[in-house]
């Protein structure tokens, strides 16, 4: 297997990981994974990466409802326009 083909599969793995690899269109990819230990290891590590972050959740310790309502009471009715992400980016380019 040429390196370039290998990379092509790696990119496809990344595209399909954890979602539609079982679909008929991924037949070639599945066949490749079955015979290429490198790509199979890569696929496995990407799946694990996503799994770990999905599993890392946090619980809120207590409700903030009262605090938020109190703040809103103090401020009274107000209306501001939320800036769009794009306008924020323009103002603060990285």
């Amino acid at each position: 297997m040429k390196l370039v083909d290998h990379t092509k599969y790696l990119l496809e793995i990344c595209e399909k990981v954890d979602r539609d690899i079982a679909s008929p269109t991924c037949k070639k990819l599945r066949e490749h994974l079955a015979k290429c230990p490198d790509c199979a290891a890569y696929y496995d590590s990407l799946k694990k990466t996503i799994f770990l972050y999905r599993n890392y959740d946090v619980k809120l310790k207590g409700s903030h409802v009262e605090e938020i309502l109190t703040k809103l009471e103090l401020e009274g009715p107000l209306e501001i326009k939320l800036p769009s992400l794009q306008s924020l980016r323009k103002k603060h380019p990285r």
Partner: protein, 189 residues
Amino acid sequence: MDDDTALIASSKAGDKRAFGKLVKKYEQMVYSFAFKICRDPEKAEEVLQETFINAYRGIKSFSGKSKFSTWLYRIVTNNCLMMHRKKSHEPVVSLDETELLKETGELQVAHWGETPHDAILNKELKEVLDKAIENLPLDYRIVFVMRDVEGLSTQEVGNALNLSVPAVKSRLHRARLFLRNELDPYFRK
């Protein structure tokens, strides 16, 4: 009308109790998402409060075209970006696809050991995960968390961030490769 629609309509009319019910329903989701972006529990609580205050102030501009949750994601994202800018600048990292795949393509890919399957990750592992994602630029982090962790569709992520579907896919792609590479030294057998 579903529950949200009625509560949103009442909130628009200035009914803060109705808005309180929306806060109750969505505060865990907002907190959890904010944490996954900021990686800091205190900041996430701050973002949570800011988000609902902004949401109440701007509720009249909520048209109902997107889901209320998607609209909230957008506000959380704005708040996280603003808070992020206040502090430091980001580490410079390469998110070039070829660069990210280079090592992998040339060397033998390492096999990862078993990753924990239970819901509770230990402290050390959490630190590793926090550190890896903190190295990922915020724009990419947000896309990864929305799509892969929270499970929003590519279209929903695009709507929330004003990005095209191909742009979402490309960022997601790079974010995944980057995080995988960051975690690689820790998990390779």
